[in-house]
Amino acid sequence: MSTLRRFSLAPVAHTGLFGVFLGVHAVGDALHVLHTGVGCKGKTQRQLVEHDLGREAHPQVGWTELSEEDLIRDVAARLREAVPELQRRRQAAALLVTASAAVELTSTDLAVETQRLEAELGVPVVWLPGVATAADLYAGYGAVVRALVDRVDWGVDWRAGSKDPPVVSLVGNFFHRYEHEQAANLAELRRLVEGLGARLGPTFLAGESFGALQRAHAARLLVRMPYAGLEADDLATLTSRRVCGLGLPLGLRATGVWVRGVGAALGVAPPRVEALVAAREARVAPRLELARRRLGGRRLAILADTPLAAGWVLLSGELGLELPLVVLLDRTLGGEAALRAQVAAAGGEVSPGTRVVETPTLMELRGLAGGIDDPPPFDLVVRPDLSLADTAWAHVATLETGFPAGHKHFVFPLPELGYNGTVALAQRLLDAAGGVY
């Protein structure tokens, strides 16, 4: 193996520190406090500004701007000084504090310091240790989800509120920008839940306020989604709620699995669930068939995080696409084993002819589409906006999705999840394949 592999950057090289920022940005009124040197500011808002046209991220991050002198004398002093001032200015509902690796190396007890700050300020001040050395952004995002779930008073009996319809909360929704595909996804998930006679409660995370998330105790059922940062069993232990762990409802089959999973956990009569699935599928399937006529046999490459890739693998099968390559861009969401398990859970399989590449380096990924002058080995690729501009990837018809996405922006609520999302993605694939937009 190349010596350089260890030192090469990942295609999505953001670590947990950025993931925390992304998570905080997904809570309408929270603030991310960076207890770091001056250079770390650029690791947060600047990375999101071209991805999210919907909301300026700047007001949701503050920093202590540690100097070397601070580091030598008293690492916590700047935190004690800066956080109250930041809170005076920003009036956040909750503050989530992270530190750089260098600061954490000093072994200062920042947990105690943040507890003191919480008592002083009267709002939650949450210390998230170790995120700067976490392997990817999803680890940081999951840490935020976990911390926020942990702040809910789950001791309140869900029966204390209205019992009918039952409330379902989603935990681990990957909300990465305030654009309309995110709103559309949430609307799709709500539609699915309501189809089962339940009501969608607070979603971790979907841009809701910290206060709104606190009302999640009203949920009778929690649906653990793939970006939750904790397993279904742990979530159940933490919340004393029934939890069902499901993959992304992306594609016809995966959406059916999702509906059946939630329906079963809610105790909805199976005939009712099946009727719902059948009715929705009957609407969608003919449209997919139209797309299949054009897309069938084309070669698709998928570059995505593991849960998203699993959804795409299933959808590609439904559209008759060949799948020579799947590249998994995350480092903490389970890798190839999880991909195969998630696909299998929806009754599909990763074709033996499909090459699955886990966590390639950026250099390796750049070479996976062959030489820049050669005919591309794929007709279509589903991927985020990575540093591939001057490689053969740039010549493959692209459907941009996931993070980061600098080119694809949504001013129209076009979903990716649920039944409508399935049709919308088929449409986008058709457009990409046809070279028309």
Binding site: T3, V38, A102
Partner: protein
Amino acid sequence: MRRQAKLNQVVCTLEGMATLLQRTPGNFAVVIHGDPDCANVLMHGMDHPGAERFFCTQITPDEAIGGRSLSVLRKCLDGLCEELTPEVIFVLGTCLSSLVGDDVESVTQAAAVRHGVRVVDLAGAGMRFVTQAAVVDRFARLMASAGLASQASEAFQVSGAAAPDPRAVNLVGFDPGEEVRDQLARLGVRVNAVLDLGASVAQWQRLAGARWNLVLDEALFAGFLSDCAERGVAPLEVAYPVGASATDAFFATVLEAVCPGVDDDAVLAGPRAAAHQAVALGIEFTRGVRLGFNLGSKKDLNPRTLAREGLAEVSVFEELGFELVLLLQGDDHPERLAAVREILGGLGCEAPLAVFSDTVFFADLCVDQGVGLTYASDHLRELIVPTDVGFLENGALRPGYSGVTQNVRRIVASLAQAGVGS
């Protein structure tokens, strides 16, 4: 030398140099010696190429504590030299390497000897603040080593020294656009190299071929200009050619120095008259409107933004009769404000100053100051939306005479959109 960092955002050396190196095409590699998160100072994807030339030692806490971080750096440099063929390798330290006291220079020197490849320790990382201006100057000096034979040993190879052309200029830290470049050519001034953000190493290697380095602010490039002057490339401070009067001043300065006595009417008279006419028309809409000119919010390492402490474009609004107020981000300690006033005074700017300590107070300040239009950093736009204040983002103004008409239209449209002066 002006007192810097009083008006502008500061950076760390890692962030500053990495950002500029990422934007510079050329056959070099960059090693970030620190924890994996430090690679996130780079922009990934989203039309920001260049990250593929970056590597990170990805030091773990155990390696840092156990004193093994330098051996990891050594291994990384060995791998780079054996598997790739960069002309030069730059090594950037981080807070972590600074904290554990790594002697990066000794490892880079040894690697250079071992492999016969130039390996340059860009010392200075850690938690020290540096000004954007200092980074810009340092970067220019580094790149100049590609084009100035006297410094070739520091970084790039020089293929051959060109004799400076007395009628040639380098545009350092700004690009006045195709129209101005074309007009310069027609007036007998050859643009030898455009050394703006994103200029390639190949462009920098042309540096010594010109007699003049045109800059918007000599103080911004003090070290670079000194290096160049020793090699026969003289500095020439010019106005940024944006707006009618500044464009007049730009051409007057350049022509007087580079080709004195040349009659510019044949090339410039028509566009110049049209530009001044546009100003005369525009002023009917803009005279007396209060303009909030934002300073101190940008961290883009752009010499154009940093020149004259951010005031390089202020004349556009002055000639349109706006009533100027400077909206300065940062603390309002009396010592800082005194220093800022002194700096501004030195630049001939006596406009009133208002300070906002945090971005979230920007809109309120604009309203309190009675601002009708603000020329500000783009990330402040969203904060302005709920108010009746017009917004024009910093960098939106077009250079050159033909840009004047477009600028006036845009300014008037921004005012109209906000309901000012309609």
